[in-house]
Every structure is written in C-alpha cells, then in structure tokens.
C-alpha cells in the first residue's frame, strides 16, 4: 500500500496526474464505502483479493458508488435520503465536484455512467409528488445537471446499464418516502414495484410489474450479465411476500422468473437481500442477506439455489475473474475463489452496503 502511495506521490510531483487512469491505483477491482476505525467515513478501493488499496474520506455514511468507465473517478453517494453526492478523483482523494440534488429531490444512493462516460444517471425522489426520477448530469469537470425524467415508478433504487448499450434498467422499489418522515414507508397499502427499461432520453422501453403475490416485495438491487440478463433482488415488506421469492431474473422481451429455492433457505434470508452480483463468466449469481447473515449462490442457467456460506452482517458482494468477494459490517472481507475454500481478511472497518466494480468489463 505504501509503495502505491509512493507511486502516486511521484506522479503528482512529476505533474503527470491528469493522464493517470485506474491502472495507476493498482487497478482497484472494487470500490466500497465504510465506517473507518475512528468513526469517520470513507470510500475505499480494493483489489480482487480483498486488499484495500486506497482510502478517500467521505463526510458521512455512504451507500454505494459508481465508477467512471475510463477516468479514475468515482461518485460516492450518501446514505438515503442524502441530497448530495461527491465526485472523487481516486488518485489523489481530491473531491473534484459535488452533485447537489435540485430542490425537492434527494438521491437514493445509486447511479450509473453512460457507456462513453459523458453522462451520469442518478436515482432520485421527487418527494412532494411522490414519484421517482432519473437525474441526468454532464460528467465533465463540473458535473452540471442537464435534466431529469421519470424513473417509471415510485422509489427507484438501483440503476444499471445493459452491456454494450445505453439502455438503462431501474429498480423501482415502489416505496414512497418523504424526508419529513425519514425512512418511514408511506404507501405500504398501495405499493407496486416494477423493473423499468429506459432510454437515456427517458423513453420507457419496457416495464415489468410484479404479480399480486409479490406486490409488497420491493425491488432494490440489480446485477446485469453481458448478454443482458438482469437479476433483481427484493426486500419483502410482508411475511407472505418473503415466502414467495426474493430473487428474480428478467431478459428483455421475456417474462420474469423467480429463482427456485428450497423453503428453509428462502426463510433464512429473512425477507431481505442486500446485494447481488453475477460471476464474471455469468454462470453464477451471489447474493447477500445481512439479516440472515448469509451469502447464497444461484445457478444462473437453471435459476436455482445451489449453496450457502454463512457470514454475519454481510452485505457487499462483488465478482472478479478469481471469484466472489463479500464485505460485512463486522469488518470481514471474505474471498470466495472459484472451486477453492473461502478465506477472509479482517479490517477494523464496518463495510457499508455495497461493493461496486471499479471498471466492470461487462458494463463497457
């Protein structure tokens, strides 16, 4: 770690900084927000083996981040309902811009860049109207807001981009909240989550609504495979919904399907999936349940549960060619290599919700 800092300092001294890419940072595979040992918060870069490469301070508790496809630049989102996000140059830790949500909007904590890196899309709450919007920002020097469009539902949370395209997919969780009442869910009686595919101009291309049995399962997090298969992870607002299913798959133009689950493993998730990621070869999906204290693997071809790995307060899940990686509120970073036993590193950090791929090849 010291060596890399030295390298960066050297680049700084030689004035080469503007041309640095992610490589100069040791090519972090992941970005993750955490509470640091001194109770402050930060965004960390991590390699595929779970070794922390650099730390950038954050002013408050983070949720997720989005990495620019080419520049070593990340957007760090505050925990919902934050009204700002920070653009951080990861080589120096310098905050280069600050995204301020417009009046009457707050961020939900997720965002995604366009394929060419020129635009950033953020999920937001138009809370007086109780409708979800996608904010559009110019990803230049200053990150100017260009506009917004409907997310296609209420309470949009995760947003992703289909590979090799600029089609956005949004998890409209269906839950209405208002900053006056914190994170209290205001519309449980009528909530109706959906998965919406949108163009970067905001044209609704396709929308999947959940059947009645899943009406109270809020779609929160997404993983996208290179062939466009979308995995959507849910958080149940009812015991009945939790018993139906929490992880589904969808490919455009086809009906959505739920993963096949043994009952006791489904119950073990306690109605709550925190994060989800495809393996880089796309054959497997890993999901985390901090409430159940467990990681589950799903066979992505047969769409069925295959195995469990207990891990207390686990939430962040990421994939690299070597296998999956999981971060937990306990400080553990667990490396789950393909076909080999898991091992872990212990950090004095409390890892927050998500591990984000720093430069995901499948999202190129």
């Amino acid at each position: 770690m010291r060596t890399r800092r030295g390298v960066i300092a050297g680049f700084l001294a030689s004035g080469l900084l503007p041309r640095l890419g992610w490589a100069a940072l040791g090519n972090p595979t992941f970005l993750a927000a955490a509470q640091l040992p001194d109770d402050s918060y930060g965004l960390l870069g991590m390699d595929a083996d779970g070794q922390a490469l650099f730390t950038v301070p954050l002013p408050g508790r983070g949720h997720a981040a989005a990495a620019h496809p080419t520049r070593p630049e990340a957007v760090a989102f505050a925990r919902r309902p934050g009204d700002f996000a920070l653009i951080i140059e990861c080589t120096t830790g310098r905050q280069t811009a600050r995204l301020q949500a417009p009046a009457g909007r707050h961020f939900y904590g997720h965002g995604v860049f366009s394929s060419d890196g020129s635009r950033l899309f953020t999920t937001e709450n138009d809370y007086e109207a109780g409708r979800g919007v996608v904010g559009v920002w110019a990803a230049g020097e200053a990150y100017q807001r260009l506009g917004e469009f409907s997310s296609g539902g209420i309470g949009p949370h995760d947003i992703a981009r289909l590979p090799n395209s600029d089609t956005l997919v949004v998890a409209n969780g269906g839950l209405e909240t208002h900053p006056d009442s914190g994170r209290e869910k205001l519309n449980l009686a009528t909530m109706q989550p959906n998965l919406s595919y949108l163009s970067t101009q905001g044209v609704r291309l396709e929308q999947i609504e959940m059947p009645t049995a899943l009406r109270m399962n809020s779609i929160r997090h997404l993983a996208v495979r290179p062939d466009g298969l979308v995995a959507f992870a849910m958080q149940a607002q009812s015991r009945a919904g939790a018993a139906v299913g929490l992880i589904g798959f969808h490919q455009r133009g086809r009906p959505a399907e739920l993963a096949v689950y043994p009952r006791s493993e489904l119950v073990e998730l306690q109605g709550y999936i925190g994060s989800v990621a495809f393996s880089t070869d796309g054959t497997q999906l890993a999901l985390s349940s901090p409430r159940g204290g467990v990681v589950h693997y799903i066979d992505a071809e047969h769409k069925c549960y295959t195995r469990r790995i207990p891990n207390r307060d686990v939430c962040g899940i990421g994939a690299s060619a070597a296998g999956f990686l999981a971060t937990a509120g306990t400080g553990r970073v667990t490396v789950m290599p393909n076909g080999r036993p898991s091992y872990h590193h212990s950090y004095p950090h409390r890892w927050d919700n998500h591990l984000i791929a720093a430069a995901p090849p499948s999202h190129g």
Binding site: V314, C315, G329, D352
Partner: protein, 339 residues
C-alpha cells in the same frame, strides 16, 4: 464422566433458554396481543351497532363508539404481521398516511356514483382500502365535505357499511390470532413450524413490532405534521378532523411501553430504564396541550413537539442498542440499515 456432565449441563442450559423464549413469546401473545385484539373486536362491534342505531355524525353515542374503537386500533397498530397482514386487513382498518388524498377521492367517487357496493358486505371487501377503515369513517363523520353529503340515505348506508366492514375485519383478525397464529408463535422452532423455524425468529418478530411502532410514531405521527422548520405541515396530522392526533401518540406510547415491558422481562434493569423513558415521553405528551399539532407552525410549539419526538427516538435507540442484543435479535450495521 466430567465430559458427560459438561454435555448434560449444555443440553440443560440450551433447553432452558428455549423455554425462556417460549415464555417470553407466550407472555407477549397472551398479555399484550390477544387482549388488544379482543378489545378492538368488541369495540368495533359496538361501533357497528352504534351506526345501526344512528348514522348522524353528531350523535354522541356514535361519536363515543368511534372514539373507543379507534383507541383500540391505535393500541394494536404496531402489530402489522400475521393476521393483520393476511388479506391486507391492517390496511383495510387503517389507510394512513394518505399522501395522495386517496381516501376523500375514493369516497367521493362512491357517493357520486351512488355505488351499490355499499349495500354488499362481501363486495365491499374488494373496494380500495382507501375507502375502508377508521380514516375513511373519520372523513364521513368529521369532514364537512362529507358529513353532510347528499343523498343522505347513501351517506348513511356507506357509514354503516364501513363500520360493519371494520367490525368483520377485526373479528377475522381475532379469530386468526386465537386459532392459527397463537399456536404458530408458541410452537416457534418446532419441526413442523414452517413460519418460525426457531424461537429466535418469533422473538425477532415481536421486537420488530416494537421498533415499527416507535418509528411510525416518531416519523409519521409526529414527523409528518412537523414537516420542516421552514415548512410545517400541521394539516398532515393524523386524524386531525376528529381532534385525535396527539391522543394517538399518547395511546401508542402506552401500548409500546406495555410491549417493551414484556420484552424486557429477563433484563429487569434495562426494563426499568425503558419504563422511565416511556414515562417521560408520556408526560411530555400529556403536557403538550396541542391536540392536533396546530402549534408546529410556531417556533415554541414546534420545539415542544420536537422534544416529544426526541424522547421517543431515545427509546428507539435504547431498544435497538440494548434490548435487541439482549434478546439476541439481529441488529448489525447492515442488517438494520434497510436499503
């Protein structure tokens, strides 16, 4: 031999803990949940009877019955799981907050169309939850736009149908609790229990109900009318038309105090601290003298509501950080985050 004794001791202590859990679950179900639901059922039936006798919104007996049944609902409104969740019953009794004014819209539509659904108790179960339950009834009885709505005979029928529907829903919840859900919770961890695979899961459910109630009261019942300092929203206060906003906060503090007390039985020192905190919140609410939070628009009035809100937030914090771990329920950094 020593090995055997240690093993024996382990077996005994594990089963003793399981028994402790069952006792805890039984005490909450039998001393908190069932009496509350039974009271709701009886008072809702009284309300339906009162509406049969008179559908005049100003009739004192009807108003008394409305108040009694609404009180009974608030005392169990934090129990959103199980029989309350089945068939959306909880929402059918209480559609609030109503951020998009769906209740007045749904009622207006029924009245404008003189919709015959108001004459059919079975069909009425399928109307929007916004037109059912206590908050719809409040509109019919206490909102000038509805209490005198023409035609009178239809308004009267609608009022009777809503109260009869309330009563039937409450009775269904009680029956389910007695016949299905009490046995289910008491057998948590049994091999054939598919809902609660361990006793811990049932304890977690009860703890969650406590946290849900505390959060709902601070964030919705108090937070919504408070709005922001620049933009207070007194008109968002719960059941303000019948002057019940502060009363609901008081009733929920009392009900949650009762539940917390039962959950803290095995940690008496913590129980005592919690009970003092609840007492303080109850005193602050009693002394507030602002029944519908109209004073949130004034700095002094707002500060007093904020102090009350903080007093309940402190209880929630204490429950999350001490009672939860004492009960062995999951309260991790990510597990409690909910996103």
């Amino acid at each position: 031999m020593q090995y055997f004794i240690i093993l024996f001791w382990l077996v005994v202590s594990v089963s003793a803990q399981a028994d402790g859990r069952t006792d805890l679950i039984r005490s909450v179900v039998d001393q908190h949940i069932l009496p509350g639901v039974a009271h709701l059922t009886v008072s809702s039936a009284d309300l339906a009877n009162a509406a049969q006798n008179s559908c005049d919104p100003h009739d004192p007996a009807l108003r008394r019955a409305y108040g009694g049944a609404f009180d009974a609902w608030i005392a169990v409104s934090h129990l959103r799981f199980g029989p309350f969740e089945t068939d959306n019953r909880g929402f059918a009794l209480a559609f609030w907050p109503d951020t998009r004014s769906k209740t007045p819209k749904a009622l207006s539509t029924l009245i404008r169309n003189v919709d015959p659904v108001a004459f059919d108790p079975v069909a009425y179960r399928d109307v929007s939850v916004a037109a059912r339950g206590f908050y719809a009834l409040e509109f019919l009885m206490y909102d000038s736009g509805f209490s005198g709505a023409a035609p009178e005979s239809y308004r009267c029928q609608l009022l009777r149908m809503i109260t009869a529907d309330l009563s039937a829903t409450s009775a269904a919840i009680l029956t389910d609790w007695q016949q299905l859900y009490r046995p289910l919770m008491l057998s948590a961890g049994a091999a054939d229990n598919r809902s609660y695979q361990t006793a811990d899961e049932a304890v977690q459910e009860l703890f969650k109900a406590l946290m849900t109630g505390l959060q709902f009261t601070t964030q919705a019942r108090l937070g919504r009318p408070m709005g922001t300092f620049e933009r207070p929203r007194a008109r968002r206060a719960e059941a303000r038309r019948s002057g019940r906003s502060l009363r609901h906060v008081q009733l929920s503090i009392a009900a949650l105090d009762d539940l917390a007390d039962l959950l803290a039985k095995q940690t008496p020192i913590l129980g005592k601290t919690l009970s003092k905190r609840f007492q303080r919140a109850a005193n602050l609410a009693r002394d507030l003298d602002d029944p519908v939070f109209a004073n949130v628009a004034l700095p002094q009035g707002r500060i007093r509501v904020e102090v009350l809100q903080q007093s309940i937030e402190i209880i929630a914090l204490l429950c999350r950080e001490e009672l939860g771990p004492a009960l062995g329920v999951v309260t991790g950094f990510n597990a409690m985050d909910g996103d």
